[in-house]
Symmetry: C2
Subunit: 705 residues, 2 copies
């Protein structure tokens, strides 16, 4: 991506406001006023053919009349005039457009939006929006938006797909005390999308944490790549995860809100931390912009109240970082800073008598101890102790410890004095909250960040022993003959080309050929009708299992063909597949879809009731490396089955993980051809005994004639 | 319960402070000072043998020297002196003791605590505590505690098992703007427990909502009864639900924190709404003290921003009240109060242009519409509209509608202006929050309240056709012979006495008797070793199934006895059970435990992997009425199996629910004898075909010799 062009758009040294107005209350007036009030130091050129000057700036009829260079043009004219304005901006050499104007794809005028982008790209310009609030930046003293004020200064940057929410969050930064350097309204994302913003903000020196409000990505893969490559923490609040919510999001932004489950996986795969709701977005943005990742599982909690300690302990389990007792030496040292009836376990209960000294001593000691990977300090306001004093003790302990690669979060429950202490801590770089579970949730965000970063930065190691050409040859043959449904034999040829262990299956086009194939494979065998017109083979009476000899085979061959003709008289019948009978194993299912946002996406689950009744499946955007595949196997509720539950030997998870990875490579590399596929059942044997794909199915994409 | 005595304790007209101190900083000084500062209007008697007066009150050496009557005595002397002080209070005719003093069961001195209560009860006194902060009441202008200040006035009452948390929540009521009339610290609950407090607060005119922080109940059944009988909403935050958290709670209060799952069921059965964390306790307390229950499932959301609308929609699904689209007439009317590009579906999006008028009109219309069961109004602060103005519009609309039996909640996202509007709304009786999902969660609390109230007030209808005497006769026989493990035949006799459909099973004590019984029952039959010393019959080679004729039976009889002797040479063998072979059905499991907090508790789950791998079980405190049993069947993840999944006919859930209810009655009525029991497997047949208990097991309680 060309950062220089986006620099012009997002960090402009000069701004034209196309549609600047002399009338208070108009957005075209507000934008100019906001530039003034934010003390913007660049050039401002109001564009308005009917005005001479606006708020002290000389006005011009067109950007073409402006004497100096223009980095960014804020566009606040009616939609229908935007293409022409874009043309003029292009001629003028403007770098980017901030299109506040609405009336585009959100009201069905996608064509107009595309026209604007096409013109912009001709001239090498980028387009932010349309249908946005604008951009706000503290470090650039630039409020090029109709949001009322620059946000509370801080180190985070927010990119929001909802304009109303951005404005509300803007003012809300002051009451919530979470600081942002930048707010960017991204709107319809006709051109500049979330991936672009992540790349640009990752390179931006004033951004420590990238915070996203996402209704639906338009650039799933690009976003994931950008996020994976980023060195700064990214946090996303994805809305529209409920069925009804997705419908509401679609009507509101014209963007396709994908399945919540796939988004969740994609974010995790890309190292993006997720927020559960709006307050959680603020809380986690704060912690991610102030503290380092938590690289380990040992969370230690220090408290002056047993009650909040227990609440925090519950929260730790809820948020995936269950507490463990601290080792003996830690307990022994901490025992020195509490009365007899305190507890040095975890939570460490200093008791209500704890003042600044006990807090400071125990924080300093615990923070520096190598066993501790992250520290949560809880304080309940008491009449005997002063919150600010405690806060200063905590801060000094952290300073004195000299530790900077380990996180700490704090909770003060109390009144105005506690509020003031919270604010002071935040201003001094220590995330502090008003409830114990929030402090724990914040630390767990840093834990999730460390964990998903590790996953995200593990590259996919491609299997080189695959024969893509062979696979494409099978596909070409299928496309030549019929349309999209590949038979089991054809599907298995593709699977086999990617090194997937399919049960030996061959097509017999005559009874004699069937006999010969069975002889070669050895009885018992399975027989199945092969026809692109018969997808549900069993329903058509087209499957016979456990055929033990030639006589049985000949009888079955005839019955299968008769049944198939009775089922669908004009079916295109390729013949009958002869397949070796696989021994019993644990049934699992692999599947793939072509997600509209993320493209090839792989699904894994156990067979039978697990998939049918419990919908116990897990998704990943493909491809998935072997260690990610192992994680998929552990993700499902039925995971103990594979680990060897109920006295049975563990299943061959390593082999299964390789199968998953190879399958994910197959659907990725053939992503231009494969619409969906599945392998069902796949039988998994005991450790070392491998896996067999018993049945496979591929449906090709629709193609233009 | 004697309310008059508790009135004296909790609403005292005169208070003695035993251990009142002249030294600032001492708790005995703080309590007297707090009574002064809260402008307490009753008599105050400091008790201190070494002082003449404290803070203007004449001091006395002992309560026995006080001239007037004493309602409550606040006790702040060292633990070891408390028994004597209690004795003196009794003689003086004090009604109740508020024992702030610590050093009792929380440090292993349960004996001292029991001594105090025993003395108190001799004199008809009640004891609050020990190990507490005290009591605070706005309506009584009484701060008889060492918490710094009376809470923000309001209609809720908080009872907290954690003192530190109570103090912190006290000051926090001001910053969180949630009002309380009373705060009661309940501490070690040596006498006055949560059930007592619920009963008393339910009768108290100044309490609209009862809010509880619970680490562990000591009076499970009493609490449930009190909650069921209450006419006011009750909300509980139960801490110590994680394994590690329960351990922390136990070390801190000396109270047994039961399994989170059973607490959850017990609360729901008793109509108690639950809070997920500390902020949620505040948020839900606010809504429950201000708004009526939501009697129906139709939640309508009105918003000026699509983004918060989608977040609220997601939240509605998350909190169990998924949105539906409003009917046509509602949509048509609402369309009048929004621009063309607004949406009248649900959420109703008035767009960012919405000012007071649109909010007011649409709120008034929607609130009055019979389809709407509850309303959530969302507002994102914009530069063009004034939050207070919008708030007033919403308030007026609610007033004008005249509706008082339907709830409304509000969310304003924004800065200081929004904060002021939120505060104004709350002061005017409309719960308002700073994030959309919180407003939705609050409404869902009112929905949960309505739902669980209905369940809680449905009485258990006892089955009268049971033969308790017969069951007790079997138990007596078992107790006479051996100790606690009942054999299957004995257990099934108990089950049968309670009308449970056990598979026909009879004990054969000789081979000939076995032949005769099998003849009578008809082949095929099942045979099982019967011995109180062999619990795992299969492991001992003590089970033979599908015996088809006499020869098979005779052979099996001998083999079973041989195996049993080989398994345990000195086993007390009753004989061999002959059982009809039940046809195949869906396997389910019933179980019971004697929960230390709630007593007889019933468990239900599906058999096989559902219970073994997925731990897919649900609990209820026994007994459970048939409609609650039906709810249990629906509660498990495997519920679709019973409903008839995978092309199978629905199972006989009605018969199964009756079995569950009868079983729950059995374990309740025989609760003095039965420690635990199970029925595993129970086979469930198609609708109308009933249920068969194939195996049953009862373990009796340990009894003193």
């Amino acid at each position: 991506m060309d950062h220089k062009v986006l620099d012009g758009l997002l960090k402009p040294k000069s701004i034209a406001v196309i549609g600047a107005s002399t009338k208070e209350g108009k957005i075209g007036y507000t934008v100019v006023k906001n530039l003034v009030e934010s003390q913007y130091e660049g050039e401002v050129y109001p564009i308005n053919p009917k005005a001479d000057e606006i708020l002290g700036f000389k006005a011009y009829p067109s950007v073409l009349d402006v004497p100096g260079d223009i980095d960014a043009a804020v566009v606040v004219i009616p939609a229908k005039y935007v293409p022409q304005a874009t043309e003029e901006c292009g001629k003028k050499g403007v770098k980017g457009l901030i299109v506040i104007a609405s009336g585009f794809s959100e009201v069905g005028r996608k064509d107009l939006e595309e026209q604007v982008v096409a013109i912009a790209h001709q001239y090498g310009m980028r387009v932010l929006g349309p249908n946005i609030v604008g951009i706000l930046s503290n470090s650039d003293k630039c409020n090029a938006s109709f949001a009322p004020i620059l946000p509370l200064p801080g180190k985070a940057a927010l990119v929001s797909q909802s304009g109303a929410l951005l404005i509300a969050m803007d003012t809300s930064t002051y009451t919530r005390r979470v600081g942002f350097d930048k707010l960017v309204s991204i709107g319809n994302m006709s051109d500049v999308n979330f991936g672009d913003m992540v790349e640009w903000l990752n390179a931006n020196e004033n951004t420590a944490c990238i915070s996203l409000y996402v209704e639906g990505l338009k650039d799933g893969r690009h976003f994931m790549e950008a996020a994976r490559s980023a060195s700064k923490p990214i946090i996303a609040l994805k809305s529209g995860v409920s069925a009804h919510g997705a419908a509401a999001a679609a009507s509101h932004t014209g963007s396709l809100a994908g399945s919540g489950k796939i988004y969740e996986s994609a974010f995790e795969q890309a190292g993006v931390v997720q927020a559960s709701d709006l307050n959680n977005l603020f809380d986690r943005t704060q912690v991610l912009s102030l503290q380092p990742p938590m690289k380990g599982d040992n969370m230690l909690i220090i408290t002056n109240g047993g009650g909040v300690g227990v609440l925090a302990t519950d929260a730790a389990e809820r948020y995936g970082v269950p507490l463990r007792f601290a080792p003996e030496d830690v307990q022994a040292e901490l025992k020195k800073h509490m009365p007899e009836f305190g507890s040095a376990k975890n939570p460490v209960d200093l008791t209500g008598m704890a003042g600044r000294e006990w807090y400071q001593e125990s924080t300093r000691y615990a923070f520096a101890h190598p066993w501790v990977d992250g520290l949560v300090i809880l304080y309940c306001e008491t009449a005997m102790t002063d919150p600010m004093n405690i806060a200063q003790g905590i801060y000094e302990a952290v300073q004195e410890s000299g530790i900077t690669d380990k996180p700490i979060t704090v909770s003060f429950v109390g009144g105005e004095k506690s509020e003031a202490a919270i604010q002071w801590l935040v201003e001094n770089g220590i995330p502090a909250y008003d409830a114990p579970d929030i402090a724990v949730n914040a630390l767990s965000a840093l834990h999730e960040y460390a964990e998903s970063r590790e996953q995200a930065t593990t590259p996919f190691e491609r299997f080189d022993d695959v024969d893509e050409a062979a696979a494409r040859a099978v596909i070409a043959k299928v496309r030549a003959h019929h349309d999209r449904n590949m038979t089991e034999v054809e599907s298995k040829q593709i699977f086999a080309a990617y090194g997937l262990p399919v049960a030996n299956t061959k097509l017999a086009t005559s009874e004699e050929e069937a006999v010969a194939l069975a002889e070669e494979m050895g009885y018992p065998i399975v027989m199945k009708i092969m026809s692109p017109d018969i997808l549900h083979k069993s329903d058509a009476g087209g499957v016979k299992v456990n055929i033990k000899d030639e006589a049985g085979l000949r009888a079955a061959y005839r019955t299968i063909l008769e049944n198939a003709k009775a089922y669908k008289v004009d079916a295109d019948i390729h013949g009958v597949a002869i397949q070796e009978m696989a021994p019993w194993g644990t049934e699992v299912i692999l599947g793939s879809v072509n997600d509209p946002t993320f493209g090839p996406t792989v699904m894994f689950g156990l067979g039978g009731i697990f998939v049918e009744i419990l919908k116990d499946v897990t998704f990943r955007v493909a491809p998935v490396s072997a260690n990610q595949s192992m994680k998929m196997l552990a993700d499902i509720k039925g995971a103990p089955i594979l680990a060897g539950a109920r006295g049975e030997a563990p299943r061959d998870r390593e082999a299964l993980a390789e199968v998953l990875s190879r399958y994910s490579q197959m659907i990725t590399e053939l992503g231009d051809e494969i619409a969906e596929s599945d392998a069902n059942p796949v039988l998994v044997y005991e450790e070392g005994q491998g896996v067999t794909v018993v049945d496979a199915r591929i449906i090709l994409k629709k193609k233009e004639a």
